[in-house]
Symmetry: C2
Subunit: 172 residues, 2 copies
DNA sequence: GTCTATAGCTTGATAGAC
DNA sequence: GTCTATCAAGCTATAGAC
């Protein structure tokens, strides 16, 4: 917890948008600095390197995703709704002005395991002994939904993914 | 059709591997040249630019994927098998020594439409009126399978994707 | 068609003042 | 902690000989 620093927050915000829109490699540090209105040395004082900044951006995103998913689960009315709440959270994230390629951060190892374990847990009340299998199916569908958001027709990606998930849940 | 040129083929092969393993942006032209054993000017004579080389690599890949899928469909015994043949083709590609991140090329617009239309066609005999809907579900699953191959546990990605697809087909 | 050599630019990161 | 100014390295692409 660095003593509150406007520059730090602005750097994280600028980097998140630019990295997501253009890709990390295609985004020069100078561009992040310009958008944040910060000097080069300040960035290196806070994050050490471009890679350090990237890591900090991913961490921040993961934490927000985590919170959004938890909130969606809490808001759901029943077991089936809680299992499918991932898609509500995806929808929130997608509509919430987040960069169009925000989903790339989900391609990390930590996140895959998080998804798998939570989905298995949530699938329990719905599928009983078949919970692990259903969770595995839903993991594929969630991954596919993220992938679809990278392509044309991204707007309807979450809705289509949810429809597929519902078909799977109903077939249990 | 350039007069047969060993350099051209070597460049395509080297670029395919390196681009897939490291990403295009992270791969310097020099590295492609070194692996191919070719001089800079030769690359620019054939492809005009790094982007031109990248485009040529994608074209070649798409053509091979196309052929592999068609072969898998032909080899399948029945309608259901033909519909699920995408996964046979994915398996062939994945095992065939292709770079671990080969799937990135499937994130193109052209390919998305190709997938959708062919899957819809193949779903006809299996799902009748529900063909379009089933194809849409399978499109999500195929995309998810590709995404899973980018993460740890990639080896079993195709098998798990196929299992999800079978659950969907069976529920029709 | 292919080579060697190099131009010209952009990048990530640092030095030193305040 | 933040700034201005700058370095050293790496990149893509081209020139010119064979």
């Amino acid at each position: 917890m660095t003593p509150r620093s406007g520059a730090r927050e602005r750097l994280l915000g600028a980097a998140e948008t630019l990295f997501a829109d253009q890709g990390v490699a295609a985004t020069p540090v100078d561009q992040v600095l310009a958008r944040a209105g910060v000097a080069p040395a300040t960035l290196y004082a806070h994050f050490g390197s471009k890679a350090g900044l990237q890591a900090a951006v991913l961490d921040a995103r993961l934490a927000r995703w985590d919170a959004a998913w938890a909130a969606a689960v809490d808001a759901a009315p029943d077991d089936r709704g809680r299992l499918l709440a991932v898609f509500d959270a995806l929808d929130t994230f997608a509509r919430g002005g987040a960069p169009s390629r925000w989903c790339t951060f989900l391609a990390t190892a930590a996140d895959t395991e998080l998804l798998r374990s939570r989905l298995t847990e949530l699938a329990g009340p719905v599928a009983g002994d078949g919970a692990a299998e259903l969770a595995e199916h839903l993991l594929v569908v969630v991954s596919g939904t993220l992938a679809m958001r990278l392509r044309p027709g991204a707007d309807s990606a979450v809705a289509r993914g949810r429809a597929t998930a519902e078909a799977l849940v109903s077939s249990v």
